[in-house]
């Protein structure tokens, strides 16, 4: 249950935070746009690095040597001068050239598959390994082992030691 005043407090904080964010960004955007301080090649590259050349395969825009890529870097520069944010520029490129200019598929719709499937496969693997490793406990010759949670403790290692000496005795 939410405390009513507490909820207001959260809301206030959020608004305050947003205000600070806006206040923080407006001046910097103005500086970029109006102070006549043109974006450096490094500023352009910082954005270009996150985008992929739409015509060549799998080459980031910041290092692609073709003329087309030089033009796109120029576009980024123009947009930076116009005061666009990094996100806006990326969105512009997506609208113009499609999702493939992004280094990763956008997290929408079907694309979630990219992010979800590998962890799922990995977890299935973890399950199988876990099953294998717990089976060794159950089938262990020493019945006391079963009760013991396996992550512990001096007692467990005692048992382990006993086991080991037993096996070693067997070997000799």
């Amino acid at each position: 249950m939410y405390n009513h005043s507490g909820f207001h407090f959260v809301k206030k904080i959020t608004i305050l935070g947003l205000l600070i964010l806006v206040l923080f960004f407006i001046p910097t955007m103005n500086v970029l746009a109006q102070s006549g301080n043109p974006p450096t090649a490094d500023d352009v590259n910082a954005v270009a690095k996150q985008l992929y050349c739409p015509v060549c395969e799998n080459i980031p825009l910041d290092v692609c040597p073709t003329q087309a890529c030089a033009q796109w870097r120029e576009t980024i520069r123009e947009k930076l001068i116009a005061g666009w944010s990094e996100e806006q520029i990326k969105q512009y490129f997506v609208d113009q050239y499609g999702d493939r200019v992004l280094a990763e598929p956008p997290r929408t719709g079907l694309n979630w598959l990219v992010y979800i499937l590998p962890p799922v496969v990995f977890l299935v693997g973890v399950f199988f390994v876990y099953r294998n490793l717990t089976k060794l406990k159950r089938s262990s010759p020493n019945p006391e082992n079963i009760e013991e949670p396996k992550t512990s403790d001096p007692y467990y290692s005692q048992v382990e030691d006993a086991l080991k000496s037993l096996v070693e005795a067997e070997k000799d």
């Binding site: 739409p54 003329q67 087309a68 033009q71 199988f128 390994v129 089976k135």
Partner: protein, 186 residues
């Protein structure tokens, strides 16, 4: 396919049918995907004689051209880009051809600017005095529709909306352009 060690320790059982089915389903699914990808890679541009799905082009000046509404006219779809050197070879001829056909009202030229920057594209149009409608290929939808391999490529759609001719690479003369359009006119 990727489950580590699904061992049934010391049990000489064979795999349950369910697992076998799933494994084969995954394998066949993957093979189908490969087959589709291969088919796609080997498929050239769309075939002459097939009807072209409608698409819309928004020109740089903001006019919208819907090929569904343009039926009854011969549509010349020319893919180009400002960074494409060979495109420059045919630019003047394309414009000249457009000037000849424009008065008849039977033919429309659509220039599709393939992955380009607007500034450079407008400069290019200016340089060659191109007057027929041109617009960007937003999200490369139109080029994917035609499955183009590069620029320049030109596709000519007849009055029934069927693909009548394809030119890969630049036209070398205005005669070549007219040779492909004239038979489609009444």
């Amino acid at each position: 396919m990727q489950n580590p060690s699904s061992e049934e320790n010391t049990q000489k059982r064979s795999l349950p049918t369910g697992v076998v089915t799933i494994v084969f389903a995954i394998v066949l699914g993957f093979l189908a995907l490969l087959a589709w990808g291969l088919n796609n890679a080997q498929k050239g541009p769309i075939q002459v004689g097939k009807s072209v799905p409608p698409f819309t082009l928004t020109s740089f000046s903001g006019d919208v051209y819907d090929t569904a509404e343009l039926q009854g006219k011969v549509i010349v779809v020319n893919f180009w880009a400002s960074w494409c050197k060979p495109c420059e070879q045919e630019a003047a001829e394309m414009e000249q051809a457009w000037k000849e056909y424009q008065p008849t009202g039977e033919v429309i030229f659509l220039g599709v600017d393939y992955v380009d920057t607007e500034t450079e594209a407008l400069a290019y149009l200016d340089k060659f005095n191109i007057t027929y409608p041109n617009g960007p290929d937003l999200r490369t939808k139109i080029s994917q529709l035609f499955r183009i391999r590069g620029v320049p490529e030109t596709y000519i759609i007849d009055k029934e909306g069927k693909l009548a001719g394809v030119k890969i690479g630049p036209y070398t003369s205005i005669g070549e352009i007219k040779m492909m359009i004239d038979p489609l006119l009444d």
